[in-house]
């Protein structure tokens, strides 16, 4: 049997999963610090449009990605001011952030609808990229794909191997305790929220620079919400966010291939599969309550009132 067909499938899965990895891993840090930011979709959109505009104006993809990250960070900063400093409700503010992001991104992108841009360049190491099967998969991706893996490893290491990670988790699990031993809960949460924004922004940038190199309004099409669901799916563990993103992307792509190959299954059910799989895994995980309790930040969504 030939494995030729496998390579293009895997390549497509990687592009489908990468924006989810970025947005998911960023929000994971945010949530680990005890903050629930439902505005991922909005931050991704603003990141996508900012990166796109930067790419068309400067022609530099480094600046474009950086701009996407900064734009996401800016959105997250607004969220931080409202929820951390002014103590607004996190759920409502997050939803508002998404609505705001949708409007703001289409405003910024108004003059850029219909302008195409060259796709983010893929790595091409002669010799390595030309290897059969593993060549294009391992050595033929664009820089953001590698960065997505680096960010998962980096976040894992940060959370579980560094003191700063320990403090972040402490703030998320018991803000009062962390505060009482002298840590700045609000300050740490600001940093975590802004890291989440930056990663969402890069996830958005991946959409508008690499996945479909164009700016189109609402082009995230719900991926921010999927990223949020992935974190619960992953029970707040970075490695599982990666697994979840690739599973979700993989099933989406495979069902399209199954259809094109004429597999006799209703397409609606096939389209439903990724969501169905997520729900099933969630149910299975929820059976073991301790798993969730052990990893879910205890203070998530709770407002911190520093004791006077």
């Amino acid at each position: 049997m030939s494995y030729e067909w496998l390579v293009p499938v895997i390549l497509t899965v990687i592009t489908a999963a990468t924006p989810l990895v970025f947005a998911g891993i960023g929000e994971l840090i945010t949530e680990k610090s005890g903050v629930l930011n439902l505005g991922v979709e909005g931050m991704m959109l603003v990141g996508a449009v900012s990166a796109f505009v930067a790419a068309t104006v400067t022609g530099s993809y480094f600046i474009a990605i950086l701009t996407g990250a900064l734009a996401g960070m800016f959105m997250a900063f607004l969220f931080g001011i409202l929820t951390l400093s002014l103590m607004a409700n996190q759920v409502a503010t997050g939803l508002a952030l998404t609505l705001f992001g949708v409007g703001l991104s289409s405003l910024i992108g108004q003059d850029y609808v219909g302008t195409p841009v060259a796709a983010l360049a893929k790595l091409n190491i002669s010799g390595l990229t030309d290897l059969p099967i593993i060549g294009p998969i391992l050595f033929g991706q664009d820089v953001l794909v590698y960065l997505s893996f680096v960010s998962v490893i980096g976040v894992s290491w940060f959370l579980y191997k560094t003191k700063a990670g320990l403090i972040l988790r402490a703030v998320g699990d018991s803000h009062n305790a962390a505060h009482s031993i002298g840590y700045s809960v609000i300050g740490i949460r600001y940093l975590a929220v802004m890291f989440g924004g930056a990663m969402s922004g890069i996830g958005g940038a991946y959409l508008s620079l690499a996945y479909t190199p164009m700016w189109a309004e609402n082009m995230t099409a719900g991926r921010g919400w999927i990223a949020l669901a992935l974190i619960v799916f992953a029970t707040w563990k970075p490695g599982l966010v990666l697994v979840g993103a690739y599973m979700f992307g993989g099933i989406t792509i495979l069902q399209l291939h199954a259809q094109a190959a004429g597999l006799d299954l209703p397409s609606q059910i096939l389209s439903m599969l990724p969501y169905l799989a997520t729900v099933i895994v969630l149910v299975l995980i929820s059976k073991d309550e301790s798993r969730i309790r052990k990893h879910a930040p205890a203070c998530i969504g709770k407002i911190f009132h520093p004791a006077a």
Partner: protein, 359 residues
């Protein structure tokens, strides 16, 4: 709702306020549009918004148009339509198939407001329906595709398996097989009108399975971008998408709502509006084709133009018999053509389409 809409609503409120203060009753008449996608989708909704702008241009100060974009089909749309009607809009265009029942429901409560529903089949005294015979454009495209394919596999990115989309697939393959009997169509349904990422993924899957021409019935230019980067052909949908695929786009089917929107708005303003059904195609210019790609050989362009002219003068009907269904049974006999009723309810594939039609 989007900033622009909010701004225009605020503007309308301000106008109404000024009018009240001045004691004059005649404010501008409001014309509303409800869109299923963002106006920047560069496809379906984009073209409807061009039509809205045509109304503003043609009627100038007499009307004020408002729109709400990315309105989900179903309960959401009913709320939006109801709000528009309650807001004093004189005529409201609801531009997606899934708005059909919500439009009728709201129309019942607002007998004085005129409603125009795109692509539906239910009408009322104050609800008209209109649509384009896009399948005529797809028939022309099918002739080109049949001639241009080397792999004899045409990939088709489908949105939802509704008659409108199925009809387009059938028209394409009928035309393609009339010039190349070996052609097959592979369909990938994405179950969305608008998700650039997923549409692009579907195009990739189809190309990976051998398709060398990508057609689509979804609204973003993403499938064309994929075609461009993979070096295969593609056909734009709803608007000219050649910016996204200068090499790959063979042509595009363009929806042109401008004359209809202007005429119907005028009718609503002068009181001559009547409920009716409009289904126009190449002949009336509601469907047009973008410039043909220079890479298409002259004889194929000639064939395409003859097909287009034949449809316009009535000598060619895309669904003229004999037509066989996918399972080989005869659907239309030699010398007969499918009537509009059957076309509007089309829920079967013709011969040459791969896979089963999802129900």
């Amino acid at each position: 709702m989007k900033l622009k809409t909010i701004a225009s609503l605020l503007g309308a409120v301000a106008v109404a306020g000024t009018a009240l203060m001045a004691g004059t009753a005649s404010a501008e008449d409001k014309v509303g549009f409800v869109y299923v996608g963002p106006v920047g989708d560069h496809g379906w909704t984009y073209r409807h918004d061009i039509g809205r702008q045509a109304v503003e241009k043609a009627l100038g100060d007499k009307v004020k148009t408002t729109y709400v974009e990315s309105v989900k089909e179903g309960p959401d749309s009913e709320r939006v339509i109801r709000q528009m009607a309650a807001d004093g809009h004189k005529i409201i265009f609801t531009t997606s198939f899934g708005y059909m029942n919500p439009t009728l429901k709201v129309a019942k409560s607002f007998p004085n407001v005129k409603f125009e529903h795109a692509t539906g089949f239910k009408r009322a005294d104050n609800v008209s329906t209109y649509s384009g015979r896009f399948y005529e454009g797809r028939y022309v495209v099918g002739k080109i595709a049949g001639k241009m394919t080397k792999s004899n596999i045409i990939g088709y990115v489908g949105s939802f398996p509704i008659p409108e989309v199925v009809r387009g697939i059938n028209a394409t393959i009928l035309a393609a097989r009339s010039v190349n009997p070996d052609v097959q169509v592979k369909v990938a349904w994405v179950n969305t009108w608008y998700d650039p990422g997923k549409e692009g993924d579907a195009a990739k899957a189809l190309i990976d399975q051998g398709a060398d021409i990508i057609l689509q019935h979804t609204d973003s230019p993403a499938p064309l971008q994929v075609a461009e980067s993979r070096g295969v052909w593609a056909v734009g949908q709803a608007s000219d998408m050649h910016h996204f695929a200068p090499k790959a786009q063979l042509t595009a089917i363009i929806d042109n709502w401008d004359p209809y929107y202007v005429a119907r708005t005028k009718a609503a303003l002068d009181g001559s509006w009547k409920s009716m059904d409009t289904w126009s195609g190449l002949k009336d210019g509601m469907v047009t084709l973008a410039k043909f790609n220079e890479a298409i050989p002259a004889d194929v362009i000639k064939l395409a133009e003859e097909t287009r002219d034949g449809i316009i003068d009535g000598s060619i009907h895309p669904f003229a018999g004999p037509i066989k269904k996918q399972d080989g049974t005869l659907a239309v006999k030699e010398g007969e053509t499918l009537d509009d009723g059957t076309l509007l309810g089309m829920d079967w594939y013709v011969e040459g389409v791969q896979g089963k039609l999802p129900k």
